[in-house]
Subunit: 412 residues, 2 copies
C-alpha cells in the first residue's frame, strides 16, 4: 500500500515552520508497512491544492492531508475538497453541538468563525477531534482512501494514532516492516560505502540508507516482506555483514546516542567519570548529562578554557604548556590525569584543540584536537584533525572523546 502526504500552509513554504507533521505521519505509516512515496507541500491556494490531490490519486492508495482546517479565512482545505469531490457543504448538527460544548466547558462563547467547522463536504465523514475544535474528515474517492487532518500537531497526532493507524494496519494486513539503526563516528560516508560495497549484492532485499549527521554517519537497514521469520533472517544477515565490515566504527547497533552507550558501559562496570574540556566548552558534560540517571556515574567536569584554569585547577604544569603548547598530546594527557585526581573518579577524559574559526597556525591549524584518557592503569591520547566549522569541530571532538572512552571501557 502506497501513501502520499499533502501538507497545506504558506508558513511551510516560506520556511517559518519546519514540516515536522509530515515526518511524524511518514514514520507512523512506515511502521505499519504503508510506504510513503511523496510528501507534497503547497500553500493555501486552490489550484495548487487541487493539483496535489490529482497527482496523489495517480501515485497512491492512501492520501493524508494536513492543514487549512482552522476557522479563519485563509483555511481553504474544506471548500477545495468539496470542489474536488463536486460535493455541496453539509451541516452536521452533532459536530456543531460538540464544538459548542467545548467552548461552554471553558466558560466561553463560541466565536462566529468556529461555526463553519460544523460544515463538511457531502460524502465525507467527520473524524472526532479529541484535542481541539476542528474535526478531521475522511472519504473514499476513486477507490482511494483520503484522510484530512488539522495542522495543529497534537490534534493531528491524536487522529493519526487513534484513527488512521488502526484502520490502515488492518488493511495493510500481514505485510511486515523491520528496520535497524547503526550509529558510526570517525568515518566519512564514502569510506563507509567502500567498506560496505557488497551490501546490495549480498542482501538485495534489504535497503541500506546512509544518513550523515553532525555526530557521524547513521546507517539504517530496513525491509518489507510477507514472512516475519524470513524478514528477521535477512535483517540479521544484514546486521552481521555490517558489523563484520564496519564494526570498528559502530558505537551502537540499536540507534542509541553515544552518551547512552557510555552510560550502560559505566553502570555495568560500576565506574565513575569526570571530564576536563577546553575547546568543547562543556559539550561533553552536556551530552553525558542528557542521559537520565547519569548522576550515578558522572561526577564533575571542568571547563578549562584559559591556560590558568588548566594549570590551577587541573595541575597541568605551566612548563609543559610552554614546551608543547596548550593544544598537544602532553597537555591532553595531563588534563585527563588532572581531572581524574581532582574528582576522585575512576576515569578522566579530556579535550584540547582549536575550534576555530580563528587561532590556527600552519603547525596547529583550526580543527586540530587532542583527546586524552586516564584511568588508574594507563593514560593515553589521540590526535584528530577535523574541519573548519566551529560547531562541527566541537561536536566531532566530543563524540571522538566519548568513543575513545567507549573503546577503552570495552577492553578494560
Amino acid at each position: 500500500m502506497n501513501a502520499t502526504i499533502i501538507s497545506i500552509g504558506n508558513e511551510l513554504l516560506s520556511g517559518l515552520t519546519v514540516n515536522s507533521n509530515a515526518s511524524f505521519i511518514g514514520e507512523k505509516l512506515t511502521e505499519i508497512g504503508v510506504q510513503v512515496v511523496r510528501i507534497d507541500t503547497v500553500g493555501d491556494d486552490e489550484s495548487f491544492i487541487l493539483s496535489a490531490l490529482n497527482q496523489a490519486i495517480l501515485d497512491s492508495d492512501v492520501i493524508v492531508i494536513t492543514g487549512g482546517l482552522g476557522p479563519t479565512e485563509d483555511d481553504l482545505t474544506k471548500p477545495v475538497i468539496a470542489k474536488f469531490l463536486n460535493a455541496e457543504m453539509k451541516y452536521h448538527p452533532e459536530v456543531y453541538a460538540r464544538i459548542e460544548r467545548l467552548f461552554l466547558k471553558r466558560g466561553k462563547t463560541m466565536p462566529l468563525s468556529n461555526r463553519n467547522q460544523a460544515e463538511l463536504p457531502d460524502r465525507t465523514e467527520p473524524i472526532p477531534n479529541s484535542m481541539g475544535t476542528a474535526p478531521g474528515l475522511k472519504f473514499l474517492h476513486k477507490k482511494k482512501q483520503f484522510y484530512v487532518l488539522p495542522g495543529v500537531p497534537k490534534e493531528m497526532r491524536a487522529m493519526v494514532e487513534r484513527v488512521i493507524v488502526p484502520e490502515l494496519k488492518e488493511r495493510a494486513g500481514e505485510r511486515i516492516f523491520l528496520s535497524q539503526t547503526f550509529k558510526t563516528t570517525g568515518i566519512s560516508e564514502s569510506l563507509l560505502q567502500d567498506k560496505l560495497h557488497l551490501f546490495s549484492k549480498l542482501i538485495p532485499d534489504v535497503t541500506l540508507a546512509y544518513l550523515p549527521q553532525l555526530t557521524g554517519v547513521v546507517l539504517r537497514v530496513s525491509l518489507y516482506g510477507d514472512s516475519e521469520s524470513r524478514c528477521k533472517e535477512q535483517l540479521q544477515q544484514a546486521g552481521e555483514y555490517i558489523l563484520e565490515q564496519a564494526g570498528d566504527v559502530i558505537y551502537s547497533a540499536e540507534g542509541e546516542e553515544i552518551e547512552e552507550v557510555i552510560g550502560h558501559l559505566l553502570s555495568d562496570r560500576n565506574l565513575t567519570i569526570s571530564v576536563a574540556e577546553s575547546c568543547t566548552g562543556g559539550l561533553i558534560g552536556h551530552m553525558l548529562t542528557n542521559v537520565p540517571g547519569s548522576s550515578d556515574y558522572f561526577h564533575q567536569g571542568v571547563i578549562a578554557y584559559s591556560n590558568e584554569a588548566k594549570t590551577e585547577l587541573l595541575h597541568v604544569p605551566p612548563s609543559l604548556i610552554k614546551k608543547h603548547g596548550a593544544v598537544s598530546a602532553q597537555t591532553a594527557e595531563a588534563m585527563a590525569v588532572g581531572i581524574r585526581e581532582l574528582s576522585g573518579s575512576d576515569i578522566g577524559i579530556s579535550v584540547t584543540g582549536i575550534a576555530g574559526p580563528g587561532g590556527g597556525t600552519p603547525e596547529k591549524p583550526v580543527g586540530l584536537v587532542y583527546i586524552g584518557y586516564s584511568s588508574v592503569d594507563k593514560t593515553i591520547s589521540e590526535k584528530h584533525l577535523f574541519w573548519k566549522d566551529r560547531l562541527l569541530n566541537k561536536t566531532r571532538s566530543a563524540v571522538a572523546a566519548l568513543d575513545l572512552l567507549r573503546k577503552q571501557l570495552l577492553i578494560s
Copy 2:
C-alpha cells in the same frame, strides 16, 4: 518569480529526517522576493524524481533540488538529471583534482566511491562545494533555472548563500522584502499573543509569526512592498509596538542567540565570566563557547554534578547543602560566589535544579531550578519552575541563567 523545491531522499519520506533543508531554502528565497509555491519530497526513485521535475517545470521559474548527490549507490540524482536532460555524463578533471586535494590535505587517500563525484551531466555547470566533496550543479532547461544541491545541510546552506541568493536577487529585481526577528524567553506563545493582540489591527500590512522553539518563542515580522522607505517605516512601527508591549521578554531584536548578546555585553564592558553548572551539565559553557572569540571573556566552568564537587571545588559549605538542599536559592548563590572566587572572573553564574525525569519530590518537583549571579557588588538568585522534559529543562535553565546575566549587565 516562483520557485519549487524538490527534496530527494527515502529518509524524508519515512520520517527518519525532518526536512529542515527545505525550510532553510524557503526562508532564503522568500527573503529575496522569490515565492516558493511547492515543496515536493520524493524518494530515491527514478520515476518519482522525474515526475517531480516535470511538475516543477509547469509550476515555477526556479527549481532548487537537494539530496542524492553523495557518492553512494542510493544517490540517484545525477543519473536522473542526465536522463531528464537527455544528456551524457561528462568527466570534469578540475572537479576531480579539487576533491583529491581535499583528501590529500587531510592526509587521506580518496576513496574509489568519491571519483564519480567528478562526473556531471553534460549541459550542467558545477557549483563549487566549499564545505565538502560533492559539487552542486546548475543548468537552464526550457527557460527554467535549475539548481541541484547536496543534502548535507552545511554544504547546501553555503551554496544557497553564495550562489543562489546572489544570482536570484539580481533577477528578482525591484520587489522589496523586509523582515525582523525578535527572540524572547520566559513567556508562552499564548501570553505573548495576548500582549500583542492589537498587532494586526494596528499594522495590518506586516505579517507577524510566532515560532515556539526550545529556547523560547521567536517572533518574526515581515512584509513585501514596492517602496523601500514605506516598507521600512511600517517595519519600524511594528518593531516599536512589539518592544513597547513585550520588550521585557525580548533579548534580541536582531535575531541573535542569547550567547551572542552576552558576548557583546561582556566585551563592551571588559568583563570576564565563569560558570558553575549542576543540572545544565555543561550546556551553558557549551553555549557561551559557541561564539567565536569567547575565550576573551569566558575563563572557566565547573560542572558540579555531585554534592562533593559543589563543596570541594566551589566551597559551598556542606552544612548549607544539608540545611537548604542542593537545589535551593542558597546553594545557587554559594555556587555563583564559589566559581567567581575560584576563577578570579568578574562575574560568576550558576544553576542547580532537578532536570528529571527522576529525582522530584512534592516539595521540590522535576523542573524546579535556581539560578545564581554573583559580582563584586552583589549576589542574587532566581527561582524557576519549568516542565517535565529533561532536555527542555536543561535548555530553559541555561537560557534563563544567561538572561539573568544579560539583565544584570544592562543595569550595571
